[in-house]
Symmetry: D2
Subunit: 259 residues, 4 copies
């Protein structure tokens, strides 16, 4: 019997509170975007995942050492207040990812401090909010993240994210999105950093109910399964080692000298 | 409850029978190399795998349509009689891999017809059989194939396989081997082909009891878990599609014309 | 002073001759598609390239040992008569690529024998010929193949090629195409095989004058520069080596033994 | 006629000055390590490169805006005083790399601020300074960095750098090093970041005259040629774009509406 995957769904929780957006958000996401994302993962993974939420407005942005030390996978949605994230929290999340925690970076979190730090690039892109239809095509049919996903996923209306997306070449390219205006975007991308896995997935603008879409829920659930650390992971960040003892030398020297 | 992974362990079964080798083989591998490989996978995966063996000397080399159609993962060890494999069987295995079956290619099977066909290169390498110590270092700590594997695995005596290994750049590089004479080899490599996954793993010369080594058994068991198709895989080989209907055009045209 | 890159532009030369197509072909491509491709490379690379053409209807399909032995880069366009290519010629081209010759595979040559052999997959795709607009977006701004290329290239009318394109994951992904109907395609892809480089580029259907497009000419010229072998290349196909002498052992043994 | 590649060779210039090391450094590197690296590049690239040096002890560490704005390729060697580098200079180098400047990161600069920022990982490794023999094997025979390089390069005595090296998987793996004690290291690795190219090359400890080795000089000269920006590069860092106008929509809408 394996223990459930401990998933922490992190949300900026800004648009949900802002005067301008809160009415629409309450319609699309009565429990907040983080609430919807958490519910989707729970709905699809059932007992095999133990899902909690955390938000930026909580102490330590809801990401204390204790929370991170009990997180196998963290999902991150942010947009308006990236700059407000305490660098000490970014350091802590960074160390935890390098130690083995999976990280799902969602939509506008391409500009989050943690993603830019893990990528080393500007993570900039082209965008336009004009209600384009988005089609999400799979280009990696044997990858666990595409299991059970239609080709393409259709999102009737969404913000456009387009190339050039300034990221390191994905180690595994999973999804490509097209938009009714002709743009293209590498919308599902995997990387490994240290002992951890990172998945970026672009759908999920706050103005559209994208996280209620059954296929999008499925992608996130699949990505949790992919990103989780292996059984027995120690979450120790890689560190420099002054390797004490040569391996082969000794054997050879021993043999030759003793011969 | 998921059903067990159906693993077919294929062996050339030549050295086991040959006059020159059979005495030594019987000591190292009383049930044949295929028997030892199958036993190791069963030992480590238990009820989650259903393992059978097949050998080259059987009708259709033991790889009838029926056998392949009930194989989720195939392991392939061959050395002396690659040329004797019927091309129709190679075609069949090739189609099954492209349709989703995992394939583990072991040691001297770098020169097998199926591996060369999947790679598109000569798959040639440097070698020398002089009982070198081999150290197998992991360079991919978050990959499921390295779970529970020491760094390095030590094989006291083994044939040397060295670079240049003429393969396409591995999509995921898992292990690097060094030898007491200073050579290096990309000894654990992953690729995806069609809907299937391919893992090449170099340890396993017939003159050394490598498949009795507990760490080597663990690598093979991990690789079976990695290479298995996703639940619900259809095993249909990708094929050309004359895509009938545009998706976005229609919507736009409808909207505009109906406005 | 470096010597010019020797480029052989190979064409199927079928549509140019066929009763059904020859009138239209003569308009779009008065010197054949191979003639247009060759002219574009010459126009852009000038004295730094020495370009010749060869066609399927010539003896040995125009690809004798002598021709291949004096080719640094080969471009390949075929469509209707892939099956008619002599396997001995495919073998020869394959060996030359593995030995170091660059190969540019164009449009419908995704189904050519040589490309399928180098890839190891079906190379199948989705298609529809309905005069879609194609936009070609660059996702690799530091790659030499994208130098001087607009983002996107616009092709007013073209055949649609769409995903899933059954190829090994490109080692370098250069271009993504979108179509007015919403499809997407990995339209510019690089791989290395043996000592040779392979570039697949999808634009170029015979029914549209795509190779007269200045940006497409530029892509092909850039690709010739990228795919050319390094100065001093020996064009020797990698082969198995029984490596005679250990390197480090000797030194260590010598030291220890005191010899 | 193309203009020369503007190369800035940056050196920490600490061991050259330190009481403990300066006598030995003066023997191995009478003009400093940066002087030796610069001389090697000049020796091999001649008029096609214009090489200058800069050191940490200069104002702005020798890397003013003016210097960077006239650098096509920067090489970086540092070891003892990484922490002393002004973050504003790191920011500037980072922006320049993302805008298109090539960067060669040498030996102990794996722990430099700029490399860790570009990689997003700890960049930690195993090491031991016990005069091991290092063999550098090429695994990428068609890559320009390996042109004219023996297989292997032999360095009689050197510090050992071993796996696990905590870096993102190299986009192109070029060299693997083995050591007489049996360790292995991914010693030559390529990545692209933004519009720039990054090459890490591990040989070059200050206690050994590695940069006087003709094969090492050749690798660095080849790497300069690989890392240089394309002709016409604009060195503009990628940035976010609010893309104003849809491309395909307009055409379709226009056609349908009949406007």
């Amino acid at each position: 019997m394996t223990s459930p995957i401990r998933v922490t769904v992190w949300g900026e929780n800004f648009h949900e509170q802002s005067e301008r957006d809160r009415a629409g958000m309450a319609e699309r996401y009565p429990d907040g975007m983080h609430g919807a994302i958490a519910a989707g993962i729970t709905e699809l993974l059932g007992d095999s995942a133990a899902v909690v939420t955390a938000t930026q407005d909580q102490p330590q942005h809801g990401l204390s050492e204790e929370v991170l030390n009990t997180s196998d996978v963290l999902t991150w949605w942010g947009h308006a207040t990236h700059a407000g994230i305490d660098d000490a929290v970014v350091d802590r999340v960074h160390q935890r990812v390098l130690g083995g925690m999976g990280l799902l970076v969602l939509h506008s979190a391409h500009f989050s401090k943690i993603f830019r730090r893990l990528m080393g690039t500007t993570c900039s892109l082209a965008w336009r909010n004009s209600g384009d239809t988005e089609l999400i095509w799979s280009v990696n049919p044997s990858h666990p993240i595409t299991a059970g996903i239609p080709h393409p996923i259709v999102i009737d209306e969404h913000e456009m994210y387009g190339e050039f997306f300034d990221i390191p070449a994905p180690e595994e390219l999973i999804f490509l999105s097209t938009f009714s205006s002709g743009e293209v975007f590498r919308s599902g991308c995997c990387w490994r950093r240290g002992k951890g896995k990172v998945f970026y997935f672009s759908p999920g603008d706050q103005e559209y109910p994208v996280y209620q879409h059954p296929d999008i829920k499925r992608v996130l659930a699949n990505a949790v399964l992919w990103a989780k650390p292996e059984q027995g992971a120690d979450f120790v960040t890689p560190s420099v080692v002054n390797q004490p003892a040569p391996l082969i030398n000794r054997r050879l020297i021993g043999e030759e000298v003793g011969a």
